[in-house]
Amino acid sequence: MVHTNSLPKVAATCSQPSKLPGIFRKIYQSQYALYVLSIVLCIGAWHLGAIYKILGSFLPTPLEVLQEFLVLSTDTLAGKTLLWHLWSSIHRVLIGWALAVVIAVPLGVFMALNDYVRAIVKPVFDLLKPMPPISWISLAILWFGMGEESKVFIIAIGSFVPCILNSYNGIRLVDPALYDAARMLGANRRQEILEVSFFGSSPAIFAGLQISLSIAWSCVLAAELVGSRSGMGFIIIMGMNQLNPAMIVAGMIVIAITAWLISVAMGRLERFICPWKREIPL
C-alpha cells in the first residue's frame, strides 16, 4: 500500500466529463482496475500467442503452466516436490550470501577506514571485480565437485562484490561535515566511527546486501543449471530435457515470485532498521 500510493490518482488527471457509462468510467479511473487490466491483457496476449503457435509448439498456454505448477507441487521430480526444490535453492542462497556478507562487509569497512588495509586489498579486489561470477562455475566444480560446496562458492563469489563495494563506498561517502559535528560535540575516534561511520553508511551497506541477494539468486540458478539433482535451476533444465516448456515457465514464475517476495521483505526490513531514510517507492 505504501508503494502504490505514490502514483497520482488517475481520476485527478481525467477531470473532463467522460461519455462512458458509469461503471466503465469508474473502472477506467481507478488505478487498481488498470493494474488488473494490464495483467489480464498480458496473459490474454500470451494465451493467443500460444494457441496460434507464434513461437512454434514450445510456448505453453497460461493454463498449461498452471496445471504443470499443480503437478509439480503434488508429484515428485527426482524424488522431491516443488516446495522442496525451492527450499534447496533458497537454502544455498542463504548460506552463500551469509558467508559473503560476513567476510565482505567488515573487509569493505576496514578498507574505507584504514589506508593500509585498502592498499593491500584494493588491487586484488579491483582485479576480481569485473569477473562475472558465473565464469567461476567450471573451476568451482573442479575444486569442490558437484555437491553443495561448488554452488555455495559461486553464490558467495557473486554476493561478495556488491557487499564489499557498497560498504567501502558507503563509509567513504559519509558527509564529512558530520564528522566535524561529532568532533565538535566531543566524540573521540571510537565514538566517531560507531556513530557517524556506522550509521552514516548503513543505508549504503544495506543496499549492498539487497543487490548481492538478488545476484545470489541468479547465481544459484546458473550453478544448478550446470550440475544438480535439486533446486529451481534443476527444474528448468529438466523441463528442457523433457521437452516440457510448461515446466520451464512454471519454474521461472516461481523463481520470479520468490525473488520479488525476498526484495519486498528486504525493503520492509530496511524501513525497520533505517527509519530515518526517506521512503522511496519500490
Binding site: 558527509d175 561535515a177 558530520l178 566535524d180 559535528a181 561529532a182 568532533r183 565538535m184 560535540l185 566531543g186 566524540a187 573521540n188 565514538q191 556513530e195 557517524v196 550509521f199 552514516g200 548503513s202 533505517c274 527509519p275 530515518w276 526517506r278
Partner: protein, 255 residues
Amino acid sequence: MTQNKLKISCQNVCKTFVQKETQHVHVLENIDLDVEENELLVLLGPGQSGKSTLLRIIAGLEEPSDGQVLLNGKKVTQPGPDRSMVFQTYSLFPWRTVRGNVEMGLKWKGVPKQERREIGQKYIDLVGLTGFEKSFPHQLSGGMKQRVGIARAYANNPEVLLLDEPFGQLDAQTRYLMEQEIVRIWQQEKKTVLFVTNNIDEAIYIGDRIVVMEGKLPGRLHSSYAIDLPRPRDHADIAFLELRREITSATELTL
C-alpha cells in the same frame, strides 16, 4: 566592556592551503582578534574572505599555518567541549531524532540518561521545538533544523558558541525570525558567541561588535565597529540605517 575577561585571543593567525605541490592559497594573513567573555561578536565578510576558515581554526577543526589561538589563555589544538558549533548545512545526524541529536554530546560525555533527558528537554523548549522531540531531521523545515543545531550546541554547555553562517540557507522571512531567536536565546543564556555572516543587516541586528573582513584573499581584518543600539533592534530604524551606511561606505564593500 573593558573590565570583561578576555575569552579568545587570535594572535597572528595565518592559514595557507596547499592544493598541489606548487599551488598555495593564502586564506588568512596576520589575524589578530580578541573576543571578550559573553560578547556577541559578528565576523562580517563576503564569500571567500576566509571568515569560515578563521572560525574553524578557533573551533580546532583546522590548524593555523602560523600564529596561535588562545582560549582562556590556553592554546587551541583540537575541538573541545568548551566550544560548540552551529553549521551552515545543519550537519544534524539524520538517523537521530531531534532529542537524540540534542542529547548526543551529553551522551558522549557520559552524562546519565535521566539528566541527559532533562538538559535536552530544557534546550528543546528554549529553541521552541517542544512537541517535535521524536521527529527525524528530514521531517523538519530548514529553520527547525537549525533550531535543533542551536539546541544541540547549547546542550553541551560550551563556553564559546561558534556559528558559521547558520541562517545562510533559510528564506528571508525565516531568517529574520531566527535572528530574533538567536538574540533571545543569547540574552537568556549568556555565552561568548562568534557569529559568521555575509549579511550586513544580520550583522548589525545581532552583534555587540562587528569585525569586517577584507573582501578578497588573503583574508585580513578590515575594521571593527561597536554596536550599542538598544535591543530589540529595528531594521528600519534611522540609527540602524545610518550605521549600515557608515559600515558599507567605510569598507567599500557591497554588502
